[in-house]
């Protein structure tokens, strides 16, 4: 008899949890079952970047294999929830899009999106990456460089521009 009395409470709790799960699925709209588990781990706070894949991506980045590096990083951080990884993704777009005469606007815009994600993921403190191989360490500085690359100014016509340095 005691069990029967407990069942409505169990039913209410279970229904609310399950309904919340359904609403969460529709809100996050995962594209695959793997995506579901990734997003669930983000929601549960147990999400972690695949360190080995991240390092593999960094190796490729240092060898100027930017597209391949981003591919590794997209596997290392599938939910795009790690500020450090997103910083490196933005940096790879910057380096790949940078040109002595002109910059690739499409790549720079993707870089801007990535650096904005990185900044949004570290709201408490300015994002700084201590990596001696990089010339830009702060997300704010990288964002400024990317924005400068997408802007059209009179300075673009300056022939001395060809002597500037890629960071």
């Amino acid at each position: 008899m005691r069990t029967v009395r407990l069942i409505p409470a169990l039913g209410v709790a279970w229904t609310l949890v399950y309904a919340a799960f359904v609403v969460w699925l529709y809100a996050t709209a995962p594209q695959s079952i793997k995506d579901v588990t990734t997003r669930a781990s983000v929601a549960a706070g147990t999400y972690a970047v695949d360190r080995a894949r991240f390092d593999a991506g960094r190796e490729l980045f240092l060898r100027e294999q930017y597209a391949a590096a981003r591919d590794e990083w997209s596997r290392a951080d599938p939910a795009q929830q790690d500020a450090r990884t997103q910083f490196y993704v933005a940096y790879s777009f910057y380096r790949q899009g940078w040109g002595r005469v002109y910059t690739d606007d499409a790549l720079f815009r993707q870089g801007l999106d990535a650096v904005n994600r990185a900044i949004a993921l570290s709201p408490d403190a300015p994002l700084n990456i201590a990596d001696p191989e990089l010339k830009i360490h702060s997300a704010a500085e990288l964002k400024a460089e990317l924005e400068k690359g997408t802007e059209r100014t009179v300075d673009d016509l300056n022939p001395l521009k060809v002597f500037r340095e890629r960071k």
């Binding site: 409505p8 359904v22 695959s32």
Partner: protein
């Protein structure tokens, strides 16, 4: 035995039914993209919410759901909350079942929506019982399923399609693909939709019209005799008289029937 039965019925009402209906609400909006195989989640559009509301009104009219009994003040507060959640789950399951069988865009979507609205609206004013209502619903959903997942899917299928494709092509000849609201989904979408509808019908079959009806034990002769013995003498006489009256009426009826039959012979 009785305890076990009561427990099982309570489990069905408070746990199984909401689980079934929420699963229907979940899978009813799931599509699988043909090219990428990615899952697409479509929340219930406004028209399906309207259809679900009309369907629930039909359930109430057909006494398939006695709302007063499900939310009765005689039940405990927790049971009422649980029942309210079950009814809410039924509403969203109904909406997503419609979502599952309605084409996602274009002319067929509006045509089928109109047919659903027309049928449900007409049924609001006709005499109904729970059984007929279920049969009518099965036909309604079955037709929409065939139209969407066989006829239209065949129309959009790349390569092959056979006679169904040719038939559908002939039926919709003259319409452009945009008018048909074509968006290619993988065949898995049809399977998901079939599972959704099957689960929805199972949920409806499991759902008792009133929650307490199912838990009430059928009267047993031994219990009635025991209760009869506990009655005061005056009440016992009244019960006896009533039983004798009923018995006499039954005997008279039987004798009339037997006389008629022998006369016919």
């Amino acid at each position: 035995m009785t305890d076990k039965r009561t427990t099982n019925r309570a489990l069905v009402r408070h746990v199984l039914l909401p689980t079934i209906f929420l699963t229907v609400a979940l899978t009813g909006g799931v599509r699988v993209a043909a090219e990428t195989g990615a899952l697409v989640f479509l929340p219930p559009p406004l028209v399906t919410l309207l259809l679900a509301l009309m369907l629930l009104a039909l359930f109430v009219r057909g006494r398939a759901v006695v709302v007063g009994a499900w939310l009765s003040g005689e039940l405990s507060a927790l049971a009422v909350v649980s029942h309210a959640l079950t009814l809410a789950a039924l509403f969203f399951a109904s909406a997503q079942s419609f979502n599952s069988v309605l084409p996602d865009a274009g002319l067929p979507r509006w045509m089928l929506s109109f047919f659903f609205l027309w049928t449900l609206w007409q049924n609001q004013f006709s005499a109904f019982d729970a059984r007929r209502l279920l049969r009518s619903l099965a036909a309604l959903f079955g037709t929409a399923f065939v139209v969407k997942h066989l006829l239209l899917a065949s129309l959009y299928a790349t390569g092959g399609g056979g006679w169904l494709r040719q038939l559908a092509g002939a039926l919709f000849e003259g319409f452009t693909s945009a008018a048909l609201g074509g968006q290619a989904y993988a065949p898995a979408t049809g399977y998901v939709s079939f599972f959704t509808l099957a689960l929805y019908v199972c949920g409806l079959l499991l759902m008792p019209p009133a929650p307490e009806e199912g838990t009430r034990e059928p009267a047993r002769a031994v219990d009635i005799i025991e209760m009869f013995r506990q009655l005061p003498p005056g009440d016992r006489e009244r019960v006896c008289a009533a039983i004798l009256d009923e018995g006499a009426a039954e005997v008279t009826q039987r004798s009339i029937e037997s006389t008629t039959m022998s006369d016919e012979k």
